[in-house]
Amino acid sequence: MDSVRRLWYRHSPQLFISELLEKRWMEPIVPFTLMCLVFLAFVLTIPGYAGWPNLQQLMRSFPEQALVAMAMAVAVLAGGIDLSVGAVFAMANFLALYLLQILGLPFPVMIIGVLAFGALVGAINGGLIAYAKTRPFLTTMVVLIVVRASYNKLTTAYTRELASASETSDAWDFLGIGTIFGIPVNMVCLVLIGLAAHIYLTRLRPGLQIMAVGSSRKAARHAGIDVKRSLFTAYVVSGLLTAFAGILYAARQNSSGTDTGVGWEVNALAAVVLGGISLAGGRGTIARALIGAVIIFLLINGLVQLGTHGSLTTATIGFLLIAAVGFNVKWQKNKGKVLQKIYVSPTLVEFTPPPSIARDAGTAFAENDRLHAAEAIAYERIEGPEDVILDRQDNLYTVNRNGSIIRFLAPDYEVREEFARIGGRPLGMAMDREENLIVCVAGMGVYGVRPDRSVFKVTDETNRSWLRLKDDSRLYLADDLDIAPDGKIYFSEATIRYDLADWALDGFEGRGNGRLICHDPATGRSTTILKDLAFPNGVCLAHDAQSVLWASTWLCRIHRLWIAGPRAGQCEILVDNLPGYPDNINRASDGTYWLALVGIRSPVYDLAMADPGFRVRMVKQIPPDEWLCPGINYGCIAKFDDDGTVLETLWDPGGHSHPTITSMREHKGHLYIGGLENNRIGRLRLPGADPTWTSWASYWDDASPSAGRRAPVREMA
């Protein structure tokens, strides 16, 4: 039973759904599903519906409506509306027949003439709306009435000629009834124009400007976009698309009836809304308009094929549209909320009681006051020194909340200067052989700062895992790193599901959302070497450089990953069941390691971790400031050796000077202490420590005693 429970929580479907909902292509999921359902319903009820002849027929009948819906979509995306599409379409249809059949003009002249008419009406719409600042709704409605009236006059005047027109030419017939590889010509036109329109609106400057104007006219103006010209262009494009639809329709139907184009603006608008394009403008795609148009088209066509009475068809479509649009609006509005509700997906973590930290417990973890002796450096001159490091000249570097690297100059650390500005939230640091500062930057990746202060990117991506919906090739929360003698950079990414501001939420999950990544400067490529790790945090290369130690914060463990020697690639637990949440790990002068415990476990929270359902209810039902959180207010610094034995701890009870300790660095007999939320860097003299030992030398100075030293475990193996 327990194993089923574990399995359930490990592979929670919630995880999949929430990542699915995050996808941008999920936005039109409702209309898309409806489209598929409608098609499927007709496949099941109408014999031969999915057969090629019928599909061909559908493809031939659809494009004109689709083009008109696209025209409407362009106007709506620009923040307006174009009600004149129906009338312009009818008029273009008439003009095409008139120019070709009655005047007998050549085919290309007819095309140019009709398109010019569409552009002209678009220009009138656009000119009035953009330059005379009239309201789109009223303007296009007036144009609709004017064009429609002219259409009625003209068709009446040319009734006899139109009714007896039966001139055909090869080009005309090809456009009307021809096929290209079995696909009707007008469908091919639709696909090409649709692609072009999509590229225009999403890739090309004028189209992007239309979208920008639709999203926010004010912002677009501030960004230097010619708002008027963009609006004008949008209506001209709309007119052109409609006019082209009229030509295709004329070629196919050869008829100009009084009902041509009547109500098409309503259908087009319905398609746009059904596709989920915001009537407020700026949000939506051409594809969505097409999805909406397909639904309406298939419904009408299918219901007629089923032999439904006309009035029933209309009623059914009206009802379905209301239902779909209503649901879609709700969906668009609440998708974010649903995502929020189900995004946090806690898993099962079963702890055993940790060693006691009571003062009289007699364990290595027994609380003491040793950190009280730490003096404060840079007091109130630094914000959130998550990590600290010193160079060969004893200068002290630390990270700042605002995205910069701050340097305090030796020997007294009174002079503060901004060493480099990277951006993001710099966290863990390491120094390479060339004395470049390599920094993990949350939200950006791994960056480097040369001694001359120039900033360079090390990496901001890794390989993508193919079976995951979420694109995990980007680095979300690079946390800490260390560098192997061969220059390879091992760094942890704490979680890919949350950003730094929400890192505590990742703690509620307790799930393996993080990973360990190796960047090889030789190839410039980064590879994920371990994944599904529960908040991997501190990373430290062992003194013998044969393995990498890394801490899993939420599981309170330290792991050892062998990177060289016979066990290379294997990962083992080095320290388990720590009484607190481990953060950074760094080398100590005596061949052991310093470990920052960012917080201390409590029995209540351990219990909560064993009950994912409780945490789900908590996250869903009560406001964030009342959530039960892991205790990260105060912790301690511990020291452990290569065997995983914790030797001693340094405490600041109550966290008065050093709450949330995230790192410490030993340098020439002193320990420098950093904290994620602190306003100072602590400096503690270490009695008995090697006063000449520096971290840089232990990595890169071949004369250093710890360099090349072999761990006992390795010798035993």
Binding site: Q57, N301, H309
Partner: protein, 337 residues
Amino acid sequence: MSKGSIFVKSAAAALAAGLLAAATLTPARAADPREELHASFEKAVKGKTVAWVPVWLGVLESTWTRVMKAHFDDYGMKLVVRDPNFKSDVQLQAVSTLINEKPDVLIVQNPTANLLARELKRAMDAGIYVVQVNMASNTLTDAYVGADVPKLGRMLAKDVVAECGGGKGSGKVAILEGEATAAYSLDMAKAATEVLKTDPTIKLVSSQPANWDANKAGDITTTVLQQHPDLCAILSVWGPMTAGAAQAVKNAGKQGQVKIYVASDGQPADCDLLEQGLFTKNLSYRADTQGEAIVNAVLGLLQNGDKPGSKKLAYYTTNYWVKSKDDRAYCFTVPKE
């Protein structure tokens, strides 16, 4: 009792049965002309599919449909109905789809003379008999069933001339067309106009399409009456939309003064309006009998066996004047369901 005797007995029985059967069957082989006719009729029509695409399912079209269905059901034929509900693009889709489905006969009512022209030809090429009803296409097909439209126009116009021509009254006449590009409306208006022109005292003051819509017909009539308060007569190509025109005449206080001549499909409302004095005279072609004519045309095509498109037949229906209550017989009744 031995097995042998059983065998003999059963063999004798079989022989006797065989002789008896032969004796009873022999007369059937001799030709019974009436049964043979019936057999060949059944062979030609039974199980055949007839597809029917009206402009919409109004009273007129529903009557055709009802009559057709009753007959086709009786003959063991299948009737498939597609209702585009007055949308010409949907109607074109419906017809195109039907051609792919290959019914044996396709019956259409053309909203305009060109809309289906290409598809009807394609249907015949695909081996489907095509019958057009009342509203024709530019493409001639296997059969046309319906009113002799120009004749309707001429008959109505002659009566109008008799009423308004020869210097009697103002001589002003208005024609209410249906859909401008529909053959039915186009041809009738054209034929009527030609007759009206033969009398120089007749002035055709308006000839406008009302798109089969009573509201639009009412609007047009109101306008015409404002411009020509002394209008003598209105000649309308279809009954239901004329109701709006008659109402406009009544509202203008000119009921009885402006005569209304209507080409009627014989739907009950047309006779009601006449009996109320709103219409002056109906020329009815009776949709129910037209329905039967359609059925007969279909039966003819199926039994004839000619290749679709090889002959162009016409089945013109006969027109009857409806002048009073006594002519109610020329309006059909819609049975209650």
